[in-house]
Symmetry: D2
Subunit: 287 residues, 4 copies
């Protein structure tokens, strides 16, 4: 029996970068949080503290800033691809890189003035192993709510089941979704269009679906995205069930009438699922 090093990775996390593309009448800003993770042949630093194969996380941070300057940021998928490929190509010991980017949305107030809008964050995670690259785009913090069209009944019952069936409940969730692109070759999609459409398809599916369970809504959202976006091979959604309980007002002589709800924090249901194509290319090292 011997003790050995297993899987490992390291990198700089949460590099907060604001890129300002200057224009005469108006600037364009890109507000990012970038995290890098590298892996490869890193036994020496773990076992003996020999750092000769360690590209410092400080240098990784500098690279993020420099690449923004040298080639611009552009779409976050492209930015992450450039970074991931650079680290693997330039460092002999590094055989795999994953670059994760969060983008915070802003709206323009005037040519050089902006207001941060929305809690929704656009995300991209790119993986690269020297030969292949994988792109996963996504969204987090997209909070949605239906006041009608949601039922929940006919569920299994055991000794501990006390929940009442309902044909009319509030359905609310904060969508976290990540979708894997089928290809990142020359035929790569317009990332911006792809993101906007995937997001909108999810929102429309959430609004349209008469729901008998949050699982059903999840599947409908995923199906709508795959149906509408051929470039997407697979989508994974995590939907917390943000419970809104109808307040019982009978003790003070009132009937609620489906008007007043208490928004609970914890516990919450958590529904997670994947929707994919039966002929999707294998995921490789995308996730």
């Amino acid at each position: 029996m011997a003790i050995v090093l297993g899987a490992n990775q390291y990198g700089k996390a949460e590099v907060r970068l604001l890129d300002v593309s200057r224009g005469d009448a108006a600037d364009v800003i890109t507000d990012l949080n970038v995290s890098v993770a590298l892996s490869g042949e890193l036994t020496a630093t773990h076992l003996s503290g020999d750092n000769s194969d360690v590209l410092t996380t400080d240098a990784q941070k500098n690279t993020v800033f420099a690449f923004a300057r040298e080639g611009g940021v552009g779409e976050i998928e492209d930015f992450a691809l450039r970074l991931a490929r650079h680290f693997v190509a330039s460092q002999a010991a590094i055989s795999f890189a994953r670059v994760a980017v969060e983008q915070y949305p802003w709206e323009r107030l005037a040519g050089h003035s902006f207001v941060r809008s929305g809690r929704e964050v656009r995300t991209a995670t790119v993986s690269h192993d020297g030969a292949d690259s994988w792109v996963v785009s996504g969204v987090s913090g997209l909070t949605v709510l239906n006041t009608a069209g949601s039922e929940f009944w006919g569920f299994a019952r055991d000794r501990y089941t006390t929940l009442a069936e309902t044909t009319d409940r509030i359905l609310a969730t904060a969508v976290s979704a990540r979708w894997r692109h089928a290809s990142v070759t020359a035929s790569a999609p317009c990332w911006a269009d792809s993101y906007r459409e995937a997001r909108d398809l999810m929102l429309r599916a959430f609004a349209d679906t008469h729901s008998y369970s949050l699982q059903q809504t999840l599947y409908a959202m995923g199906e709508r995205v795959l149906d509408g976006r051929p470039e997407i091979a697979e989508i994974r959604l995590a939907l917390p069930n943000k419970h809104h309980f109808e307040v019982d007002m009978s003790p003070f002589g009132l009937e609620n009438g489906g008007q007043v709800f208490y928004a609970a924090d914890r516990p919450y249901g958590l529904i997670e699922g994947t929707v994919t194509r039966d002929d999707a290319p294998p995921p490789g090292k995308a996730w």
Copy 2:
């Protein structure tokens, strides 16, 4: 020398309420976080645990829900006024109530579907002492950024001053502002209009002002609000200076050119100030 009870208050904090006003084609939702604080003659419970004058915080919570049902929520200033007056009027021991409300904004996706929008939170704090009422409206989490039109130079210098002067910097802040209404009588403003206009005036002043200091921007924002909204007597702003530092790329042979910035977390400047009218009515117990 004796040990005595001083100022005190108690109440239920953070009652999370969703109100759904049902319509045939579309519902209207109001998403609130309501906190109540009551004070008065409460010596008995502090000194001997005699609770006969204590309206439970649980009952306060129930009251928030019931009032939403009985009279609707409407504008948060009105909702808070109704609650504050109720507690003082109905409880002999309670001589003062403060009700603070946060409202989270949602946008409509479809008749019964909504998406939460923005990080900006609308606030109202109402105080009532049995005779008079005071209304303070506000906003928090309104994050804004200018890529041009901000300078900072000519400041005092001491032994510890190392900051370089600049005629071109990023100016960013997350606006927290609260403004006191001059009157809450029959001539009370349309709260919704007043809020929207005050918020917009602040945004416009932030965008318009060529800034030599965040203090100057703060004053300009407050002045603009008072100038445009006669119903507002006084405004208090707290503006964290969300520093964005231009990354020094000279070590790797690049010139930044005002394009790439590092968004720092801590420490941050914090600029707080009041803009008022010289003939404003006294604040009383508003704050």
Copy 3:
């Protein structure tokens, strides 16, 4: 009618400082979060952007670091006093300074190794106006819980009161307390002893007091501190009632027996109160 500048202050917030006092066998570390706020004659920067009287918040940050180096940190009350007096004494425009410090506790693992311990944070807020100084010490995040000795009954009842009376409940809170020292002259207390004793007296009072309301517990905690620490003139406590609800297991045929509780997040009761001496010196600008 004119629009005018009212009360204002500015400064650097949340300077995160680790001080290492080196010793041969063991180091001593002090882990702080320091915030500075200055006020005085600052009309020019607000109205015209003339910054000649503005000591930059960057210089304030540098001063915090430099003062740690030049005189050591020592007790946080002393450190804050030195800083506050320096800003007022050295800047003609500044007539008032407030320095707030949070200290995070660490335990020693070995001579040069430490583990952060506890969620309790020690605090100090010092105010100085050129002539007088005020010191408020405190604690935050001191979370305590009694499984016995807590009742709540005999409370007021109105239409919205549904809470059941209880002679046996869980009492839990996260203590935030701040206490004003009577004097900061040469007869100032040993701050470290004063803090440790005040904290311990509160803990003992929380544990000892058979409670009929959280208000009663609050008063008992404050009284115990004032009784035991003559240097303290006044104490202000904020005690969230961290509700633990006994789970109703009757639907699945079980009797709870006071064993299993659900720890709720929101809403929560919030009990705030002051305990003072009837001959306490006036608070001046301490708070």
Copy 4:
């Protein structure tokens, strides 16, 4: 091409449970956050909203409470095992359960009084597939710091490397570690002893190791645990490098002398690694 449902799971997350084991002189409290995730044949609810195989997340929550009452909580690994096996055994559609538990530590003040201590959280994640069970224990939020014995030099250099080499730096991290037990059969370890010892071994390794990289420290911590605890097959650590930068005081004529550091928030290095045995049993569905 068809769109199909892929991997999915659902459950109740973050059930906050306080268990009070009553004793004459003293109670024992166990403060938990329990999350359940179930998977199996759940196509119907996703595709058609047929919930007949869905055990509600509400019932899962009730089960957590009821099991605490019926068999006590005991060690969190055992509690999670009981829950995971119950869900799979009792629900025909459910073939796999994962139960994750966080335990918050408290110290006794007196027989029935407690103070929450430390930021360290003990964790357990149990997986069960009907035949086999896997137990992963762990810790999170264990923040440690060395003021001496840490160097970092000899690292790779590229165009973007600007970091200075150092033979003396602050090394600080917040340990998140999870370790897989080799067996959960009758020969299962005393979970409490195993946890305490694994934690202590990590702390001692952190303190003892003269470090040339955080990777080296990570490996040393993992190796120490495996060396000392035969019941543990594998350990995974995630160590954020909580950077403490020595403040440059030369601009104001001071020499730092390794005394005053700035504790940075973001970005941070993130070092992740696995230490295992070369004859460890396969992980199965443990992670």
